[in-house]
Every structure is written in structure tokens, then in C-alpha cells.
Amino acid sequence: MKKSHIIGIVVIAIAVFVIISTAGDASTYVTFDEAKALFESGSGKKVHVVGQLKKNDTGEIVGVEPSDDKLTVTFLMIDNNQRTGKVFYDKPMPPDLKQSEQVVVIGQYKNDVFYANQILLKCPSKYEEESLQVSAVN
């Protein structure tokens, strides 16, 4: 066998390994129920859950509770299946959490709480303004 053939085989093997490990390391978008099922089945994989903060009838956000030392926060989130889950975030509350229109939490379920290590917030203002700002009119 020629050297170039051996190298070629090694390269293909590494490329296949890369594809498999990418597929294996990729996370998934799930609902709270699915995340819980994953926890109960013993999977330690971290998942993404997309949702919104829970609001009461008057549209006020409820259930956002920073810890006493303010270094962590718990909040209630409604996933895309309309199920409410309790999320614990191990970092200080992001200042724009309450303004967000969509929240993506990344982490895993443990017992009855979703432990998030990472939060992605979609805030209306971070993207192009969809309407004129009152302050800018006048």
C-alpha cells in the first residue's frame, strides 16, 4: 500500500470520527416533559428548552426569585407545550431577563428543577426595533 493511501484512510477515519462526535455532542431542543424523561432515564446530557417567563393574568412576570446573596436566580418558565417548569440558574440574574420575549435555557433536569448553566435571551430591543420608540418620537 502506498503511503498516500494510508494517509487517505486515516483522514477518512478522522473525518468520520468528527461527524460521529459532532452528532454525539450536539444538544437537542426539547420540552420540559422530555427533559424530565431524559433525567429519569439517567441521561446526563444537557438540553435546550425554549419558552417564556410565566406571567399572571395581568401580564406581570411572576416567579422570578434571585437568591438572598443575589448570586443565583430561580424563575418559572412556560415551554412551547404550555407546561410550566421551575428553572434554577447558577449565575446572577441577567439584567434583561424580565424584558425578554423568549428564553432558551441550557442544562438538565434534576428532580423537579431544571438546572441551567446558560441562558440565551431574545429581547425585542436587541434586534431591530419593530416600532418607533416613544422616547424618540416627540
Binding site: V18, D25, L71, Q102, A136
Partner: protein, 838 residues
């Protein structure tokens, strides 16, 4: 009144530049089809003039857009969305790349510059390469065309009016309504790096078109080998600028963003990293092609792949397909279809041409010897290719979902939860191999090697680097096997390339030293990254094992620390004290305390409450009117360590109505490490403070009482004759209570005022927001010898911050500079070779 003229003019320029680029491409295409010299000459002249005209109109578009921003014409959406009245002129340039249309414009502009340089420097290849250049320009110009043809939107114009973008009732009432001010440039972009990073990167991006044009022209015109000479200096130039642009971006992120580093494997970063690494591979195979035809074919593939990856990157970052996956992603302007056509048109044409000509490309079956530089360079290029492939595979995850959905399969793949680990665990092995190959490969530039000679050459560098890296890993306590290997390999590359450089200098052939210098730079960068990223240490780590719930047995490491104002806390080997909020005033050195100023009705103007002395000089006095940068608040944090002089850092938070709270770190730069500090959270600046119900207390002089849990003392009561803002008559009385509040090591003094004016009782409360106390002096009870105070409290001022130590980060920046020097030497050398060949 709305200025319609200027926008129409801009739009006209866009259309003209688009049409001219197509006609220029057509003219140059005619040159390649004509046989007789006269017709060729005529068409070349045509194409050239059309391309020049195209460039003139592109410059015209830029001038028009700049005038719209400069003259505050907020009837235009671009100016409204990206600029504001208070924006300094030098940051108006940055407005160009905050918006997607503007950044396309920047790209088009660079292509014009490059096209003109090519026309002027390479007459031989002018026609075929300019066909490709002008066609690319047509595609890019179509992105900002802003026309609707048969309901199909082509491009997004930077000259649309605000009223055509927003549906707002105000436009029905008054179609000529113009907002007073724009929403402003993202404060993160108001940074000098952001003025130079995007143009540099885009120039690097744009330059990838040159090697691509040469290889396509070469295949098309059957000049299978001749294209490399003119393409090589440009490929190196492009690689250098992309590296420089990326590193400027990394440095900006390090200084301005606060994710705790300089690289986060964000999809937008990856979108530049992948084509860059493939282009690095391509310049290496182009360098060795003379002796080896396999390298020629590989070069063809790599150069074309680089350009396709640039197109793919453009598609990823601008089509909105990344969604939430990136911090950079541009707003989706509905251009995804057009971008996809651009990507598919050029990649299928290029791939088709390569397949069609493949058999004609000279080839050889000779096996490459292990003791040749070709072998090592091939190995290096292969590793680079695999490194690029891994990043590409991971970054494309959002794309798989979209593709699968097109086939009716629902897919819920998400990016890996920890991107840094996902990418670095593979990339580090690539880096180790690259360091080894770049150290070894260099020796073959000298003479033909065989086994014994090679070992003779390598013995000393291997010994030196093993010794050094052993000492370092013993001292630094490195245990991870991959890190030990990277340290050793990086050290080896550094030593080996330095010895090559020394030999070159001895022979006085410095112009050949580009490779050695660039590889020294890479080795330094790898070592710098290994230490600063691999061994960064969170100083604010809280390992007390605080648990979220009692049932949970997980210990958590909290990486932030809560600091109340003037309450020192020991953190790692430092004692930290948060000393309060500071402001930034125009023309004022340092950061004066916020307390020294009070706001006025104009956001940008404040009045001084007291004198400000900086380094012994009085900078301003009470009552002075000053200009403030209203978005910026700095937080003074003092670090003290036993036996060392304390130092102060000023991390920043910006409160922006559109973006919420934006924080930027402050960095203490030492020779061997950086100490990086950023704010994670502060009391919500947007909401009004909620004060507690007032509590009335009767206090005697000298008596101690509590204010917001702090021991306080009523020191004395004294009569005052002057009260600011109130005229005292002969019958009137005013007195102030001097109250001292002890907060750890600091004493706060509050002086509420009690007034009897026109026989009416009144008072002026004293407030200190830092300690969250408001005290009113309500009454005097002479019979009991007591004074009636009312106390309200609120949350006292605090910050939550994170501090990280990054060892040897300066080695990374040093490596960057060395790498750029290496590239420069190589560019000069290869350009001279090209010049000699024509």
C-alpha cells in the same frame, strides 16, 4: 421636510453601479471570446472604463450614506437605526458596519479597490479575472439594490425611508414626520477597535476573491500552472488580513464584551476561522507546487474551497439561519434566497469547471518522500483541513435542521451545550500536530535530508524544548496530557523556527525569513492561548459549597461575588472593596464619583455638587456645568493584597434604552498575567428605588441608633444661616443635624435640615443612595432634649462581579505581532517573484 432627493440619488447610484458591474463583466467576457487583437483591446478598454465608472458610483453611494448619517437625516431608516446626534464623527464610520446593508457596501468598496489594483498590476490576466470580479460585484450590489420585480424583493437598500419601514400611526397623521434623534449606535461598537476591525476583516474576506479569480481564470484559459505566481502574494495578504482582523475582533471582545475571554467559538467567529484555516493550507501547497504536481491539484481545491467557505460564511451570518445561536448575527433582511443563489451559483460553476478540467491538470504519481518538505507540508495541510472540517461540522448544526425540515423530517438538533469544550478538545490535537510539523518542516528548506541528517538537525531543538517545557510544566503544575503535549510541541516549534531564523540572519537572507518568523508567531500564540485560556483562574470563585436546595447533593462553584459598597471582602488572595459609582465627564481625567454631580433636564449636562480634585489639581468646582457621557457608569473596585500596593479597577456598565445593561471589563495588565474584572449585575438602574415606610425616631445628641443596619450617631445640631434655594427671613430659623453612619471602615455623614420659615415647619431630607438611607429632620423637642428624625431605607448599593486571572496572555498578543511580521516578509518576497515573472 423630508429630504427625498439625497435618498433617490443614493438609490440611483446603487442601480447604476449594479448595471455597470454587469456590463463590465460582459465586456471583459467578450475579450476572452475575441480572437483579433484590436477587438480584444477595444473590449478590454470598455470593461476597464465600465469598472472604473462602477467604482466611482460605489464611492458615490458611500458618500451619500455618510451624508445622511452626518446630517442627521432621521427620515432615513439607516440613519435612524444606527446613528444619533451625540455620536462622534469617527464613530459614524462604524455605523456602516452595524447594519447589514452598510457592511455589504464596505465589501463592495474593497472589491472595487482590489479590482482597480489588479487592472493596474496584471494586464496579462486582466480580462478573465475581471469577468469573475465584476460578476461578484454584480451579486454583491444586488444585495443592496432594494427593487421589487414581480413581487420579488431584490436586495435591501440602505436608502429606504423610515416611514416605509415602520408602520406607525404618526405617519398617517404626518407623512413628513422626522424623529428628532436616531436610536444610536450600539455602545459596544463605540470603540476604536470597532472602527478598524471590520474593515480589516472585510478586506481579508474580499481578497479571497483574488486567488479564486486566478485559479478559475487559469482553469478556464488552460493556464494550469501559471495562475499560482500572481495568486500567491494575494493569498498570503488575504490570510494575513483575516488573521489580523480576527485578532482585532478577539482583542475587542476581550476588552469590551464580558464573556471572560477573547474567543468564544461563536458561529460568526467560526465562519471566519474555517475559511482562514483552509486558506493557510492553500498557501502552503501553493508554495511547494513547483516540485510537485499533487500540490497543484490540492492548491486548486483548497483555493476554491476557501472562497466557497467565504460565501457559505456570508450565507450563515446574514440569512438569519443561525437564529439565536450567535451574538453577532445580523437581522434577517429577507435576503436568504438571494444569498443562497449567490452561494450556489459560484460554488457550482467553480466545482463544475474543476471537474471539467480535472484530467487536464498536470499530475504525477511519484510518491512523496518522508524526508522532503513536501511531505511535511502535506501533512500540515491535511491537519489544517481536518481542523477546519470539525469546526464547520459543528457550526452548521442549525443548517442541518433547516435542510432536514425541507425533506419533511423534523429535527431538533441544538449546538453543543459547551461550545468551548466541544471545539477545543479537537482543535488542541490539531494545534499540537501543527506545531510539530511547522517546527520540523522548516528544516527541509535547507537541503535534501535523509534520516540521519534529520536527526542530527533535530536533536538540539528537541532537547532544548523538552528541557524548557519540563521545567515549565513542573513549575506550573500542568497535568493534562494534551496540555503537556501542546506546551512541548509549541516550545519545539518556537526553538526550531528560531534556530532557522538565526541561520537565515547569519546568511543575511532575511527576505526568506517570512516562514520562520510567521511560525515563531504561531508557536507563541499557541503557548499564549494554552496558558491564558487553559489556566485562567476565576478569582471570585465561591467554593463554599452553597447548595440550591437541601435535597440536592451537588456542590456548586459560584463564580461571582457580591460586594456591598465599602464593605471589603476577601476573595482568593485579594481583599476587594467596592467604593461606589463613578461617572465619565468630558475633558475630566479619572472617574469622579457620581455623587459629585447632579443631573439636569438635558441628559448630557450635569452640575457639580462639590469640588473634584484629581492628583492634587482641582479639576472642577461646585456649581460648574459639565458634559457627561450619560450611558457610562463605572464601578470603582479596589484590590489590595498583603504587602503590595493596592490598585483600582473601573469596570463599566452602560445602560442603553435599546439594549438594556451592557457591561465591559476593566483589565489590570501585568507582565506575566492580566487581571480581568467585569460586573455581572447591579441593582436595576431602570426602575425607581423603592423606599421603606418612614420610621420616626427620637434621638438625643451623642445617641446611637441604626440606619439600614448601620450604627449611626447624632453628632450635633447646629444653626445655619444659609440654605441653598431658600431665602431665610429675620424671623426664620434653620438647623442641620450632623449624623455619622459607620459602614465598615468608612464614615458617611448625612446632614438633614430643619427649617421654620414664616412660622411653618419644613425640612430638607438628606439622602445617600450608596448606603440606601434617607433621613429627615422633622422636629425639635427641647423639653426632652431630643430631636425627631424620620428614617427611610432602601437597598444599598452593591455590585456582583467576576474576576479572572489570565496568565501569559501577552504571549498571545506578542505572537500576533510576530505572525504579522512574518506574513509581511512573505508577501514582499512572493510579490517580487511575481513581478519578476512578468
Amino acid at each position: 421636510m423630508i429630504n427625498l432627493f439625497i435618498g433617490n440619488l443614493g438609490h440611483l447610484f446603487v442601480i447604476l453601479s449594479f448595471v455597470l458591474s454587469i456590463t463590465s463583466a460582459w465586456s471583459y467576457f467578450q475579450v476572452t471570446r475575441k480572437k483579433d487583437a484590436w477587438a480584444q483591446k477595444e473590449w478590454t478598454l470598455n470593461g476597464r472604463v465600465l469598472f472604473y465608472l462602477h467604482s466611482i458610483f460605489v464611492v458615490g453611494i458611500i458618500i451619500v450614506l455618510f451624508l445622511i448619517i452626518y446630517n442627521n437625516l432621521y427620515e432615513y431608516h439607516y440613519a435612524y437605526a444606527h446613528a444619533s446626534r451625540h455620536l462622534p464623527v469617527h464613530y459614524m464610520i462604524s455605523c456602516f458596519w452595524e447594519g447589514q446593508e452598510g457592511s455589504f457596501l464596505l465589501w463592495i468598496f474593497w472589491n472595487c479597490v482590489l479590482g482597480i489594483i489588479l487592472i493596474r498590476t496584471n494586464k496579462k490576466w486582466e480580462a478573465p479575472i475581471m469577468v469573475i470580479f465584476a460578476s461578484v460585484q454584480a451579486f454583491l450590489a444586488s444585495m443592496i439594490l432594494g427593487l421589487s420585480i414581480f413581487e420579488i424583493k431584490i436586495g435591501s437598500s440602505p436608502f429606504v425611508l423610515l416611514r416605509d419601514v415602520f408602520v406607525d400611526p404618526i405617519f398617517e397623521i404626518n407623512p413628513d414626520f422626522v424623529p428628532k434623534d436616531g436610536t444610536g449606535l450600539n455602545p459596544l461598537l463605540q470603540n476604536y477597535w470597532m472602527v478598524i476591525h471590520p474593515p480589516t476583516l472585510f478586506l481579508g474576506y474580499a481578497t479571497t476573491l483574488i486567488p479564486f479569480s486566478y485559479v478559475i481564470a487559469g482553469l478556464w484559459q488552460k493556464k494550469y500552472k501559471d495562475w499560482i505566481k500572481p495568486a500567491l502574494p494575494w493569498a498570503i495578504f488575504s490570510t494575513a488580513l483575516m488573521a489580523l482582523g480576527q485578532l482585532m475582533g478577539a482583542y475587542w471582545a476581550y476588552e469590551t464584551l464580558s464573556f471572560g475571554g477573547y474567543w468564544s467559538w461563536d458561529p460568526v467567529e467560526n465562519a471566519v476561522y474555517v475559511p482562514w484555516i483552509i486558506q493557510v493550507a492553500s498557501i502552503h501547497t501553493m508554495i511547494i507546487f513547483k516540485k510537485n504536481n499533487t500540490a497543484l491539484k490540492t492548491s486548486v481545491i483548497l483555493v476554491i474551497t476557501t472562497f466557497i467557505l467565504i460565501l457559505y460564511a456570508t450565507f450563515l451570518t446574514r440569512s438569519g439561519i443561525l437564529g439565536n445561536a450567535s451574538v453577532h448575527s445580523f437581522t434577517d433582511l429577507g435576503l436568504s434566497g438571494q444569498l443562497l443563489i449567490y452561494l450556489l451559483a459560484f460554488s457550482s460553476a467553480a466545482v463544475g469547471l474543476v471537474i471539467y478540467r480535472w484530467k487536464k491538470i498536470p499530475t504525477s504519481d511519484a510518491e512523496v518522500s518522508t524526508y522532503s518538505r513536501e511531505f511535511w507540508i502535506f501533512m500540515g495541510a491535511t491537519v489544517l483541513g481536518l481542523m477546519g472540517f470539525q469546526v464547520l461540522a459543528g457550526t452548521s448544526i442549525p443548517v442541518y435542521n433547516v435542510i432536514l425540515e425541507k425533506f419533511g423530517i423534523s429535527s431538533n438538533l441544538a449546538p453543543p451545550p459547551d461550545q468551548a469544550i466541544f471545539y477545543s478538545k479537537f482543535q488542541i490535537w490539531g494545534a499540537i500536530l501543527i506545531a510539530i510539523f511547522s517546527g520540523t518542516g522548516q528544516f527541509f528548506f535547507w537541503k535534501n535530508m535523509d534520516k540521519s541528517k534529520l536527526w542530527n538537525e533535530l536533536a538540539i531543538p528537541v532537547l532544548i524544548s523538552l528541557t524548557f517545557s519540563t521545567i515549565i510544566f513542573m513549575l506550573a503544575g500542568i497535568h493534562k496530557i494534551s496540555n503537556i503535549l501542546l506546551l512541548t510541541a509549541g516550545m519545539y516549534s518556537l526553538v526550531a523556527n528560531t534556530s532557522i531564523l538565526l541561520r537565515l540572519l547569519k546568511k543575511k537572507s532575511f527576505k526568506l525569513a517570512g516562514g520562520a518568523v510567521a511560525h515563531i508567531g504561531i508557536a507563541l500564540m499557541l503557548l499564549g492561548i494554552l496558558f491564558s485560556a487553559g489556566y485562567s483562574r476565576v478569582i471570585s470563585l465561591n467554593t463554599s459549597g452553597m447548595m440550591f436546595s437541601r435535597e440536592s447533593s451537588d456542590k456548586m462553584n459560584l463564580e461571582n461575588v457580591l460586594l456591598f459598597v465599602n464593605e471589603p471582602k476577601v476573595m482568593s488572595d485579594y481583599e476587594l472593596t467596592y467604593k461606589g459609582q463613578r461617572v465619565e465627564l468630558e475633558g475630566v481625567p479619572g472617574f469622579p464619583p457620581k455623587k459629585l454631580t447632579r443631573r439636569t433636564s438635558d441628559e448630557h449636562t450635569v452640575i457639580a455638587n462639590a469640588d473634584y480634585i484629581y492628583e492634587g489639581i482641582t479639576i472642577f468646582q461646585a456649581g460648574d456645568t459639565l458634559t457627561i457621557l450619560p450611558e457610562n457608569t463605572y464601578f470603582e473596585v479596589e484590590y489590595s493584597k498583603n504587602g503590595e500596593k493596592p490598585f483600582t479597577l473601573f469596570p463599566r456598565a452602560q445602560v442603553n434604552p435599546n439594549m438594556g445593561l451592557i457591561v465591559s471589563p476593566d483589565i489590570r495588565r501585568l507582565f506575566s498575567k492580566d487581571l480581568y474584572t467585569h460586573i455581572s449585575s447591579i441593582p436595576d438602574p431602570g426602575s425607581e428605588k423603592e423606599w421603606s415606610e418612614p420610621v420616626t425616631q427620637m434621638v438625643a445628641i451623642g445617641e446611637r441608633f441604626f440606619v439600614n443596619d448601620f450604627v449611626s450617631t447624632l453628632i450635633k445640631i447646629q444653626k445655619i444661616d444659609v440654605v441653598e434655594g431658600i431665602e431665610l427671613g429675620p424671623e426664620d430659623v434653620a438647623a442641620e443635624a450632623i449624623i455619622e453612619i459607620q459602614v465598615k471602615n468608612k464614615v458617611y455623614t448625612l446632614t438633614p435640615i430643619f427649617i421654620i420659615k414664616d412660622k411653618m415647619i419644613g425640612n430638607i431630607p438628606a439622602t445617600d443612595e450608596e448606603i440606601g438611607a434617607k433621613i429627615s429632620f422633622l422636629n425639635i423637642h427641647p423639653e426632652e432634649g431630643k430631636f425627631e428624625l424620620s428614617i427611610e431605607t432602601t437597598q444599598r448599593d452593591y455590585i456582583i462581579m467576576k474576576a479572572i486571572e489570565m496568565p501569559f496572555i501577552n504571549v498571545l498578543w506578542l505572537g500576533t505581532i510576530v505572525l504579522m511580521m512574518g506574513f509581511s516578509i512573505a508577501i514582499v518576497r512572493r510579490y517580487k517573484e511575481f513581478k519578476k515573472s512578468i
